[in-house]
């Protein structure tokens, strides 16, 4: 995520200043390390996971509900135990993390793209286009995200693509509104005036000049939105209307594991819950810090 900040439009020394300010707080540094290692773990899951939890030939119900550290029939040690179907929990969590992150990041990126486009158009066109788009944004934002996503998924059915679509629908308006706000300010700045004076095309001004200056703000919003998206996906999956159970995300793993909680098999639900919590907290800490450094005036 922070790579994007690298290619900022201004002088390179700004990055150094930014990173010094950013990591000046130990919690941000820790959160960054945690988040990056989680992303790496998710990315490398197929190579580092002891088992492919999607390969039904490798998973056996005869190995189910093993405690952390126990060995399976075939002599494999399950360091974090197994779930009700005999899946290795460590592997299931790595793959689950992968899906949670995929859903969070992908929906965030698409929503960012859609929202940015809408926001820029609104800011640049003004007039009735602006009024109409912003009314839609207002309308969208006036409904609670969970309710909109819930209804969309009830209609669409389950699947990764569908939940990403639903999350995009509930997120784009935040980006649109933010980008429009920033773009309006940028629009009145001298450099845009200057570019206009040089008779650059509107789109060129938009993409080469206004957009880069909106980036820091968008990055902050994107980070905060990503945490929300991951949490929302988990909640929807828990309610049974998010992802299909065969490719469980962290949220679904928690939901599955809750059935086993009362009989003392805490690891199936508590471990993925902790991973999810750590993931969301670290993203939120990053977002907070980014806001403090990049744009202290942005309201949450």
């Amino acid at each position: 995520m922070s790579d994007t900040a690298l290619s900022g439009p201004r002088k390179p020394s700004r990055w150094a200043a930014f990173s010094a300010a950013f990591f000046g707080v130990p919690s941000a540094a820790i959160a960054f390390v945690v988040f990056v290692s989680m992303c790496l773990a998710a990315l490398l899951a197929p190579w580092i996971a002891p088992q492919n939890p999607y390969d039904l030939g490798a998973v056996s119900i005869l190995d189910n509900l093993l405690e952390p550290g126990e060995q399976s029939f075939s002599g494999m040690t399950h360091w974090l135990g197994t779930d009700g179907q005999g899946r290795d929990m460590l592997s299931a969590m790595l793959y689950g993390l992968r899906i949670s992150l995929l859903v969070g990041i992908l929906s965030g990126v698409i929503a960012l793209a859609v929202g940015t486009l809408v926001g820029l158009i609104a800011a640049f066109r003004g007039g009735w286009v602006d009024a109409l788009l912003m009314r839609i944004v207002d309308l969208q934002l006036s409904f609670p995200t969970i309710l909109v996503a819930l209804i969309l998924l009830v209609i669409l059915g389950r699947g990764v693509d569908k939940i990403i679509f639903a999350l995009v629908v509930v997120q784009w308006a935040y980006f649109a509104r933010t980008v429009r706000g920033v773009a309006l300010i940028e629009n009145s700045r001298d450099y845009v005036e200057a570019a206009r004076g040089l008779r650059f095309g509107a789109w060129r001004i938009l993409f080469l000049h206004v957009l880069p200056n909106c980036l820091p703000t968008m990055l902050v919003v994107a980070t905060i939105q990503m945490a929300q998206a991951i949490s929302l996906e988990a909640t929807l999956s828990f309610l049974g209307i998010g992802l299909p159970p065969t490719r469980p995300s962290l949220g679904l793993l928690i939901a599955n594991g809750f059935d086993y909680l009362q009989s003392g098999r805490w690891w199936i639900s508590v471990l993925p819950g902790l991973v999810l919590l750590v993931l969301i907290v670290s993203v939120n800490v990053l977002g907070d810090r980014m806001r403090d450094v990049l744009n202290p005036h942005l309201k949450r």
Partner: protein
């Protein structure tokens, strides 16, 4: 609900002052809420189990689902097409009015006329055999059918009797939920219906039959199974249905709690689909397979032998399942002794696959519900594991019942006519033999599909075997019990040797309760207050 508090207050005061009398209250934590107290409104068992405390049938089912006298004391065929029912005398409705044959005729008329808006009235039970009825005198009713028809009593056990004077002119469901029309003859009377929260019934002092131990019975819906167990553990409720299977071993070992167990009437099985090309059956590269390998009985047998039913029982069902090769549970009319559950034999399964021409296996997707049967999604996944291990690479696709059943039965939505074929190639589903005997199970899931006669209405794989059909159709017209039993057993044997479907197990139903209670469990999964007693 104001009454509720004053009752609680009075109870508290009474308890404080006169400890001699304590009201006996039974609180039942149930999986799903009763949506309506109109006994002609739906066939959902959550509704029926509450309604059965208030309303009764001419014929009752005992805990093993066998017919016993209810509001009728006796019944017998008086000729090929007429059954005579003698009604119980001296029964009164909850408001004191006497019960007689007019109420029976009124109830059946109400059903036949159709109840506006009812999503699933039991009226179709009257259409089976084209039943007509006639009041002979105040305590005699004749039921006529269009031909010899053996299971009139079983059908009437599904038809609740409502009071003419309390129901005529009332709005269906609405006036029942408000209590106005919820006037029955049963052992309990309506007290309060608070949607989403509780249904309360109180003892009917004038009940004709045996009195139960309870002055008041409260049904509380707790959908989430862990929350339901938690409610039992911390004393919010006295007994729960469907305790989570994963917690059964601990519960059974805990001296503070008792678990009651009965083999249910519900068969859990895999339905193979018999079309020539199946959407969800492909070769290992993902190309459609022609012909559909599921049409070869050796393949179906291989799939059956590949399943370790005992592992499913022990590892997934917490011991609560009865592996089987039959279609009705032991003790039911039509159960075939010599059919046993297939053993787990992956080697023979692989040999059979090779013999059928699939030495490298093929690919298949199993569809199943994930919120209908006990551990349904987990069973689907376990079966997929077993099949993948013999080379039949299996994908799993589980979905909520609201989607699963429409696609299982019709394939598409009503809005798109033409999609009326079942959609799935291999599905996990269940079948409950509610009437306690096999006639409509054989006809429902083994007979060829025929929309006109209703044959094979649960045959979603479209299995078709003339030898089975002939026996099943004849059985439905055979009143003589022995002759009928023979036909049903033959039909079952022919179909099961052909692996028309792949049975997994019968559900074993459990209830968990405080150890101060004992319970006689029912095969039809309902929780009835009079079957729960304090331990002496």
């Amino acid at each position: 609900m104001k009454r509720k508090v004053s009752i609680a207050l009075v109870a508290a005061v009474t308890m404080a002052l006169t400890p001699a009398y304590a009201e006996q209250v039974l609180t039942i934590g149930v999986r799903s809420e009763a949506a309506s107290l109109d006994p002609h409104w739906t066939q959902l068992s959550a509704d029926l189990q509450v309604q059965e405390h208030i309303f009764e049938h001419l014929v009752d089912l005992d805990s093993a689902s066998q017919t016993v006298p209810g509001l009728a004391v006796s019944w017998e065929p008086i000729d090929e097409t007429t059954w005579e029912f003698k009604l119980r005398e001296g029964v009164t409705w909850h408001d004191g009015e006497p019960f007689n044959a007019d109420d029976v005729v009124f109830s059946f008329d109400r059903l036949r006329a159709g109840i506006d808006g009812a999503p699933a009235s039991p009226a179709f039970q009257l259409e089976k055999g084209s039943k007509t009825w006639e009041k002979i005198d105040d305590y005699t009713v004749h039921i006529m059918t269009d031909g010899p028809y053996p299971t009139v009593a079983e059908d009437l056990a599904m038809l609740p009797i409502v009071a003419e004077h309390a129901t005529a002119g009332k709005t269906a469901s609405v006036d029942f939920n408000s209590g106005e029309a919820a006037i029955g003859t049963g052992p309990f009377m309506f007290e309060e219906y608070s949607p989403g929260n509780r249904v309360t019934v109180v003892r009917n002092e004038n009940y004709w039959g045996d009195q139960s131990a309870w002055d008041r019975v409260v049904f509380r819906p707790v959908g989430e199974e862990s929350a339901r167990l938690a409610a039992l553990l911390n004393g919010d409720v006295d007994i729960i249905d469907y305790p989570p299977t994963v917690d059964l071993p601990q519960l059974e070992a805990d001296p503070d709690f008792t678990v009651s167990t009965v083999s249910a009437d519900r068969l859990i099985y895999m339905i193979p689909s018999y079309r020539h090309v199946e959407e969800f059956v492909t070769d290992v590269e993902g190309n459609p397979l022609m012909p559909n390998p599921l049409r070869d009985w050796r393949v179906r047998k291989a799939l059956s032998l590949a399943i370790d039913r005992e592992a499913i029982r022990d590892r997934i069902m917490g011991g609560a399942s009865l592996p089987t090769g039959n279609i009705v549970p032991p003790g039911f009319f039509g159960y075939v002794d010599e059919i046993e559950a297939d053993p787990y034999d992956p080697d023979q399964a692989q040999a059979l696959l090779a013999e059928a021409g699939y030495p490298d296996g093929f690919m298949i997707t199993i569809q199943g519900p994930n919120d209908r049967y006990i551990n349904d999604a987990r069973i689907v996944e376990a079966v997929a594991q077993f099949w993948t291990r013999i080379g039949v690479v299996t994908e799993v696709d589980t979905m909520p019942r609201n989607i699963f059943f429409s696609e299982l039965i019709r394939g598409g939505d009503l809005t798109f006519p033409g999609f009326d074929d079942p959609k799935f190639s291999m599905a996990l589903t269940g079948w409950g033999t509610v009437a306690g005997e096999a006639t409509y199970t054989v006809s429902g899931i083994l007979e060829s599909y025929n929309a006109a006669t209703g044959g094979g209405n649960g045959n979603f794989g479209r299995y078709s075997n003339h030898d089975v059909d002939a026996r099943s159709i004849l059985a439905k017209r055979t009143i003589d019990r022995n002759a009928r039993l023979e036909l049903l057993e033959e039909a079952t044997k022919i179909a099961m040797e052909d692996y028309a479907l792949i049975p997994l197990h019968f559900q074993v139903n459990k209830w968990a309760m405080k150890s101060s209670l004992e319970h006689t469990p029912r095969t039809n999964e309902r929780t009835l207050a009079w079957e729960v007693r304090p331990v002496e």
